[in-house]
Symmetry: C2
Subunit: 307 residues, 2 copies
């Protein structure tokens, strides 16, 4: 179990991002570190110029969706049939507003579609083709299927297809997510993913499920998860972790407790970022590494391992 248990950070505005948890390959740690640092920076810029937590979180997640190192947007892992199927969610702590999508194939930035569903429709969640069509109706940028496929993911997929690489033993879940607190006291959470490599078409993990991949409530805080979706779901990890903040006294202990609960009840590897309504930071993971970044004042603290 890794966490920043001994440290406490409080700020007026705060953003925390993650870029996934697991066995981050040694030759890639630099790219993950730079990616999450940059995402936190662009999100923080929004907050310090008076922007909302909603805009900050969206900006940070869009940055990581566009960065091909992460498993979200461009660079998403390929499913068994060789194409991407992406999931995303956004939750607004101010009114529990939410938007969520599963199984989109053509939306350049799934988190933007999640936000549009929250703000422009009477519904919360759309799936598959219908969600891609909705994005088109709302004027979001669509891409060809090949836009999302990077050489690295194509090579991995080929190795998996030939049996040279076990998708389950790869165990790096580089789902991205962000939580933020803005100057008005609102908290927001968002998460975006391409899912697990070589997944069966149609498989959905925790990311787009409210309470699992993300949750936010101004009274509780905001949380975003990453890791093996199948075990995260069973514990409803994000909401469970937020429920522990009051009991444990701070979000760091709450994150640790939620992941320990998952580990003891259903196993699995996961990471969590949590912010409480005062801007305190919670980061914990039971995977070897987790890419994370957050602001301490104007400085970004970041890395792929908690020292």
């Amino acid at each position: 179990m890794n966490s920043l248990l001994s440290r406490r950070y409080t700020e007026k505005v705060r953003i925390i991002v993650h870029g996934g948890a697991g066995n981050i390959p040694k030759n890639n740690t630099g790219l993950y570190s730079v990616g999450v640092k940059k995402a936190a920076e662009v999100g923080l810029d929004v907050l310090v110029s008076g922007g909302s937590a909603l805009d900050a979180v969206e900006t940070a997640v869009v940055y990581m969706e566009n960065d091909p190192i992460f498993d979200a947007g461009k660079g998403s892992v390929l499913n068994k049939d060789g194409f991407v199927e992406m999931d995303a969610i956004i939750v607004d702590g101010a009114d529990l507003g939410m938007g969520s999508i599963a199984g989109v194939r053509r939306v350049r930035n799934p988190v933007k579609l999640a936000r549009i569903i929250m703000e422009k429709t009477d519904n919360n969640m759309f799936i598959g083709n219908s969600a891609d069509n909705l994005a088109k109706q709302f004027g979001l940028r669509l891409e060809s299927l090949s836009y999302f496929v990077t050489d690295r993911r194509r090579e991995e997929w080929e190795d998996m297809k030939e049996g040279k690489l076990d998708p389950m033993r790869r165990s790096m879940y580089s789902t991205v997510g962000a939580v933020a607190l803005d100057s008005k006291g609102n908290v927001v959470a968002a998460t975006s993913t391409g899912g697990i490599p070589f997944k069966m078409p149609g498989r959905v993990g925790d990311t787009p499920l409210i309470g699992c991949g993300a949750y936010a409530d101004n009274e509780l805080g905001a949380a975003s998860a990453t890791g093996l979706g199948e075990t995260i779901m069973k514990i409803v990890l994000s909401k469970t972790a937020l429920g522990y903040i009051k009991l444990e006294g701070d979000p760091m202990r709450a994150a640790v407790r939620a992941i320990k609960l998952m580990e003891s009840k259903v196993g699995g590897r996961a990471g969590l970022i949590i912010i409480d309504p005062k801007g305190n930071v919670g980061i914990a993971y039971n995977a070897p590494k987790m890419a994370f970044a957050f602001n301490e004042g104007n400085k970004i603290v970041y890395g792929t391992e908690i020292p």
Copy 2:
């Protein structure tokens, strides 16, 4: 707020079912009552002959999926484009195993597919066409699109299309669900739905989302929800309600508290059935009516309104 707050039931084996909450039309209350009573009976038969809560809950939900009065399986409401899109979930309290599907169009009994996903795949949730294909692979019965469409739903749909009937003012959510406790002390929950009438294609509500439409954990109990999915989701109603059992001392108060929380935070109409690990019954709803049934010994208590 309606509940059976003043009554307490404890049995060795127990099944509780619901057939939706809302404005049950007067000329249909009999059909709803008979439907839930029959579903509880077939589920109870499984339990008293030593069967598992898993089999009991599946049997009860299959019964209601096949009964065209309910909005699940045959008789599901039609979406804006005039066809059904069905969602279902099953959760096993023994090990937090779960299976879930969203947006299937051809599976005769969606709850059976949910169970197969739980028992025969490494994943928890599948959506859309891919889920229908999975059903086929596992030898489940598929039907033509027209099998699911009843005259009543077709007429409603035509009235909505012509603007003679406001889908939102109809406000009867006849999602079905069941929770049970078997003689080994295991609890299980399942929920199945066609969603809301005239919904946009691809829209998903609370039903297939773990913690929202259903949850089960032998340490906590089991819950199944019905009502406006958009508000149920925001509260993660089923898991939230189970979390209240210890605090409130019994599942009836826990169900009431969870629905009050939803009402105060995000509004909406919903109903909940809850069973605790000892077989105590919790039923509450803030809609005008709710179709429910449960066994009291070998007798079935049932109705569409709590006296």
